[in-house]
Amino acid sequence: MSYLLKNGILPNGAKTDLAIQDQLLVSPDALDKNHRIIELDGKQILPGLVDLHTHLREPGFEEAETVATGSLSAVRGGYTAISAMANTSPVADTAGVVEQVFRLGQLTGLCDVFPIGAVTQGLNGEALSEIGAMADSSARVRVFSDDGKCVFDPLIMRRALEYVKKFDGVIAQHAQEPGLTIGAQMNEGEISAQLGLKGWPAVAEEAIIARDVLLAEHTKSRLHICHLTTAGGVEIIRGAKSRGVQVTAEVTPHHLLLTDDYAKNYDPIFKVNPPLRLESDVLALRAGLADGTIDIVATDHAPHSLESKDCEWAEASFGMVGLETALSIVIKTMVETGVMDYLAVADRLSIAPARIGRYETHGQSLEVGKVANLTIVDTAAKWIVDRDLMSTRSKNTPFHGFELPGVVTHTFFNGKLVFGG
């Protein structure tokens, strides 16, 4: 199938027509005669979004999400590549598991599913997993993470950072000092004290970030910090980047919008790891994302079954789904507030994450000859989030009932229209 997209707006604001044929962007003159014309009528064109932090729950927790349902959720949210975190059952710590997830993604065929390998066997933080075998497998893993758990042992972290240099890999750290967060339930602050919920101090996150940027500096390797949440963490990254440390960082949409105020009625839909922080942190994260200190937005899409949220706060699972709301939250918090334009949105949600993950066919400039991975957004339209109408298998969105700007109307993956139209 070939397409002519008429009157779209490129990230730089230029009005354009785009032609797609045989997976690639082509010159409109070169299109087949029987192409389909789609009138974009001034809608925004973005390179297909790339998520560097997704939980797909397969294998092991298919009642919450599968590679197939997660892929569908992704393309509805405008994503053409997602990265499956390693905390499945079995853990993605061998070539066999990452190849399985990769193959399930290809079979689904809606978007690329790039597995992330576990840094340590069973995510237990003690012994390196078969990192080389995962890198050499058909899944070509380049990002390694024990996400959900911190690689807390400094020697293991050092070894991991060194080891992935062999194939230009990156360690994505879940920064959480375990000794400071035993039984932690939410941000440590005035609200946790009032609610009687065990606090999760900002320093527990910042201490690991500080240690790891020093390790990355020492080993001259690539470090990525997952889901930054604190103003102090932004400052540490800013300082490290100014010294030339190869560190990148991500922020989630929910940490760009929500604060620990939402915990007040003990509804665990707002329970997430790392926790929602303060307004001052939210503002620091937005500023960091705008000035590039924070490189990317990543969803940390974390589906959970109904019963794991329909209970007491302390019993509930951590996490929120996010693939279908991420772009809208970024438009609301960053574009509508005037701190980012769509050139920056394309960078933070597509170009930069593809670069960090070494996802070569994604995050490309929208020019002739490139693979046609792209997303069309009606930025003027608004929608009301309804957890019952989402494609993800789980309903744990904190944004149910929120009115948000930006509706994804079409997603093209490898030249195929995989969502919309």
């Binding site: 440590e188 004290a193 009687g196 003990y266 007491e312 706060w313 302390a314």
Partner: protein, 315 residues
């Protein structure tokens, strides 16, 4: 007021109404007819997911003196210990027609979840949730303080109350700070810095790390229980050092003002936060707190439930 989840649910006037009602009910309890027919035909469930003999029997006595039917549902040997969810427990209670649930739960916010979800329609009374709140304890403490020291006033204006011990993990302290300050008392929290909550400086209280500098200037000294697990978690070096700085002994008690009183929500660790001679002294109102607890809980049940129509029309 449909539920009692937090002292924040109460206005100053609501709190005084509860105390006044408790005073009235305690006068009746002192008379020949201890039992009132007010809640006849009502079912009150004591849902205790955490061990607590004294609070449970206090609520049970209160409910029975108001002629309610009481069902005790406690953790050991019940479905709660078999992993049944709070939701399923609530649905069960709803199906059994509970008019009120008195809940003690180790998870902060469990009573709020019970009240705010559509799992059940009855009134929810928080009998202590995790490290959050214990509102009926604060109300009985305020009742006891008022009775001894308010000189006929309805509130606690101008009284100085010190709360000593593990403020960080204490639901009693949280509820008391909210209630006593609402009623006009000046509250000082005394604890080692490790046992004070983050951000406590924003609370409407004074803070001290030094019991001796405060003890001779307060009307009420409220000692909190130190739990064994806090010692294992190394919040302070050992029990002996804790007692030396924060325990109430005879010497410290002798430095208190003439009419001041000593309180403790129980159960006490005699010899740790309070010595036996202090606990059993003339200043101690600890046993009286227990009997006042029944009157205050009668008042809470009465005010939450008596306004409702009784099914079948019997009254």
């Amino acid at each position: 007021m449909k539920h009692l989840l937090s002292i924040n649910d109460l206005s100053r006037e609501d709190a005084i109404l509860i105390l006044d009602t408790a005073a009235e009910l305690s006068r009746i309890a002192d008379g020949p007819m201890k039992k009132l027919p007010t809640l006849r035909g009502r079912t009150i469930v004591n849902l205790f997911a955490e061990d607590s003999t004294r609070t449970r029997i206090s609520f049970e006595a209160a409910a029975k003196r108001l002629s309610a039917d009481v069902i005790n549902f406690s953790a050991k040997g019940s479905s709660l210990s078999k992993g049944e969810s709070l939701k399923d427990t609530a649905l069960t209670l709803q199906a059994m027609g509970a008019d009120a649930v008195v809940i003690r739960h180790p998870a902060s916010g469990a009573p709020t979840r019970l009240a705010e979800n559509q799992w059940m329609s009855g009134a929810v009374i928080n009998a202590g949730d995790g490290t959050h709140e214990h509102p009926s304890q604060a109300l009985l403490d305020a009742f006891t303080i008022r009775k001894h020291l308010a000189k006929g006033a309805t509130d606690l204006a101008g009284l100085r109350v010190a709360i000593v011990g593990d403020i960080l993990h204490s639901r009693v302290a949280r509820s008391n700070v909210l209630l006593l300050t609402k009623l006009g008392a000046h509250v000082t929290l005394i604890a080692p810095p490790t046992l004070l909550p983050f951000g406590v400086e924003s609370w409407p209280v004074s803070i001290s790390y030094d019991l001796d500098s405060v003890i001779s200037n307060v009307d009420v000294l409220m000692m909190l229980r130190i739990q064994q697990e806090r010692m294992q978690e190394r919040f302070f070096p050992n029990a002996r050092e804790y007692s030396r700085y924060f325990g109430l002994n005879r010497d410290r008690m002798n430095s208190m003002l003439p009419n001041s009183i000593v309180m403790h929500p129980g159960p006490m660790n005699r010899g740790l936060e309070i010595t036996a001679d202090a606990a059993d002294s003339a200043r101690s109102v600890i046993v009286e707190q227990v009997s006042n607890g029944v009157s205050v809980r009668m008042a809470i049940l009465y005010l939450l439930l008596a306004g409702l129509p009784i099914e079948g029309g019997i009254n």
